[in-house]
């Protein structure tokens, strides 16, 4: 028979959850918090955060706030096309991650930026 998935509840939910289920964690968040889906093996577990984890950025809309993946070369970003901090091996310049810096600028390994 079909395995009974535990129902949605608003009691006993973690920190910023509005509703949750035992199997999938947070389903909706309290106002203005971001919902982020963490992977746990085959399962996706919802967590509610005030800021999205590394590699994700927050998008806000009137009825929902989501964590969305940054571009692949980016560790932290403002939106999908504007990076705040690049991954190792590339240097940040005006929101872009570059392997080599534009003329007139040099790569700084400590700052991971073109300076």
């Amino acid at each position: 028979g079909n395995k009974q998935v535990s129902g949605v509840s608003s009691q006993g939910c973690q920190g910023g959850c509005q509703t949750c289920s035992v199997y999938n964690g947070c389903l909706t968040c309290k106002p203005k918090l971001f919902i982020h889906l963490e992977r746990d093996g085959m399962r996706q577990i919802g967590v509610c955060l005030a800021s999205c984890p590394n590699g994700f950025y927050g998008t806000r809309s009137p009825d929902r706030n989501d964590c969305i993946k940054c571009g692949s070369e980016c560790d932290s970003c403002f939106n999908r096309n504007f990076c705040l901090r690049c991954r190792a091996g590339s240097y940040l310049h005006k929101g872009k991650c570059m392997e080599s810096c534009p003329d007139g600028l040099v790569p700084s390994d400590t700052k991971k930026e073109c300076v």
Binding site: A50, S51, R60, S61, N81, F82
Partner: protein
């Protein structure tokens, strides 16, 4: 955060040397995570060399003076998700190396300008999701390194023009989800480094013709979900614009040459506007544009000129009064992959021959009357062709000859009396419903890959329904007679979906004139 040996053990409620607080988890690199612990004040006892401190998701309602004076090397301070309503003017003093300050999801009603005064190294400031109604004039004074500013999801009723006027290093700004109603001229005049500007989900009704003057490096402008009634011509002052969004507004027309000064545009989101007119030259010379979606411009009569827009891969143009497609359409659009021209008034089709990469054509619900030999010639990549709901009477017998990759063909609800099948060797699904003149049987042999077919009359399914061994000989003869006694009528041994299925009241033989 990898957990430091001694610090971690100490973090379990025992007294700790000066390197960490029992209320936090500290790592060897100077990071301290004290988030989500129900704290009502900033923990003490942290290492002087702490560079990263996360106290988010606690219950801290105010920051007293000098509360971080022992952390001179702090570079990132996270205070998001507390109930912060007051920040003492001296609360952040001494943080000369602070680069990132996160104050989002708190209860602030105004920008804590005094407290921010001396953060000379600050690059990222998050003030989103508070209750900010005012931005004092001196809010960002002293923040010469500021690059990223979040003020979205607050209660601002206007663009904070003067507080921002000296922020020439600012690169990314969001004022989304506020109550801004208009953007005056020169609102962002000195923000010459700005690359991203989000203004979505406000109440913007009108914007000055020169409101974006000075944004020489802006690449992304998001005006979605506002109340704009007139096309934002101010975008003509944005030479570097790549991404533009103004969907979900009240814009009725897009003028001629609308984007003539935005030649770098890659994406334009303009759906969910009550468009009734689009200038024919609006989308010319946008060589970086990959996708164009225009729905429901109901008064539009002329096909927009796409000369110079040579990298368009997807074109959707539906719900207009357009009657014809330019004959030279495919001269420019050689990389087009999908085209949706449904729900227009198109009568004649040009040859799509130049569009060699086209995979999906939707011409549903137009007024097409015939398909010529050359219309789809050479289109070896075409997979899906929807010509349903037209008035097609005639299709040239070689019209589909080169469509060797076509899997889905929808000719339903036309006026066909016959259907050419030459060339349709890969066809998987064929729809012919509603062609009431199409009475004779279909030659299943020429459609070897067919798996699903809909036909006007049930008896036409007899040739396609899988041969059932339980069928008694009498019925077998009956089936053979339905097709003029063909001896070698082919039996298709595979599972086949054909509708409407023959049955008790719709036997296979074709009783002249009695089929309904």
């Amino acid at each position: 955060l990898c957990v430091g040996g001694q610090a971690a053990a100490a973090g379990e409620g025992q007294s700790t040397p000066a390197t960490c607080s029992p209320l936090c988890r500290c790592d060897e690199d100077g990071g301290a995570d004290c988030s989500g612990r129900g704290l009502t004040s900033v923990p003490t006892g942290l290492s002087a060399f702490t560079y990263y401190l996360d106290i988010s998701m606690n219950n801290i309602t105010e920051l007293p003076a000098n509360v971080f004076r022992n952390l001179p090397y702090l570079e990132e301070l996270r205070l998001a998700g507390n109930d912060l309503a007051f920040i003492h003017p001296e609360a952040l003093s001494g943080l000369h190396q602070l680069k990132v300050l996160m104050l989002q999801n708190n209860q602030l009603k105004t920008v804590p300008s005094a407290a921010l005064k001396n953060l000379n190294a600050l690059q990222s400031l998050r003030l989103d999701a508070n209750h900010i109604t005012s931005v004092p004039e001196d809010s960002f004074e002293g923040l010469q390194q500021l690059r990223h500013l979040w003020l979205d999801d607050n209660s601002l009723t206007e663009v904070p023009i003067s507080p921002l006027q000296h922020q020439s290093n600012l690169q990314a700004l969001t004022l989304a989800l506020n109550r801004i109603t208009h953007i005056p001229d020169n609102a962002f005049a000195n923000l010459s480094s700005l690359v991203v500007l989000h203004l979505h989900n406000n109440r913007i009704q009108e914007i000055g013709k020169n409101c974006f003057n000075g944004l020489d490096n802006l690449e992304t402008l998001d005006l979605n979900f506002n109340n704009l009634k007139i096309f934002p011509e101010a975008i003509q002052m944005l030479p570097k614009l790549k991404e533009l969004g103004f969907h979900s507004n009240n814009i009725a027309s897009i003028p001629e040459g609308a984007f003539c000064r935005n030649s770098l545009l890659r994406t334009i989101h303009l759906f969910d506007n009550p468009l009734s007119f689009v200038g024919t030259t609006a989308f010319q010379n946008l060589s970086d544009l990959h996708s164009l979606m225009l729905r429901g411009a109901s008064m539009m009569q002329d096909f927009p000129s796409l000369t110079g827009t040579i990298n368009l891969e997807s074109l959707t143009l539906t719900g207009t009064k357009i009657r014809s497609i330019p004959a030279d359409l495919c001269e420019d659009l050689t990389v087009l992959r999908t085209v949706d021209l449904s729900y227009n008034d198109i009568e004649d089709l040009p040859s799509f021959q130049g569009c060699v990469r086209l995979q999906d054509i939707n011409l549903q619900h137009n007024q097409i009357k015939q398909i010529d030999r050359g219309t789809f010639q050479g289109m070896t990549s075409l997979r899906v062709l929807d010509l349903s709901r037209n008035q097609i009477k005639f299709i040239h017998r070689d019209a589909f000859l080169s469509l060797s990759a076509l899997t889905n063909l929808d000719l339903s609800l036309n006026s066909l009396a016959s259907v050419p099948t030459a060339g349709l060797s890969a066809l998987n699904q064929l729809k012919l419903t509603g062609n009431m003149e199409l009475r004779n049987g279909l030659m299943s042999k020429t459609l070897p890959k067919l798996r699903s077919i809909t036909v006007p009359y049930a008896y036409q399914c007899c040739a396609f329904v899988a041969y059932d061994s339980a069928v008694n000989p009498a019925e077998d003869d009956e089936r053979r007679n339905a097709f003029g006694g063909e001896e070698d009528m082919e039996r298709i041994p595979m599972v086949m979906h054909c509708s409407p299925l023959p049955g008790a009241f719709k036997p296979c033989e074709h009783l002249l004139g009695s089929w309904m």
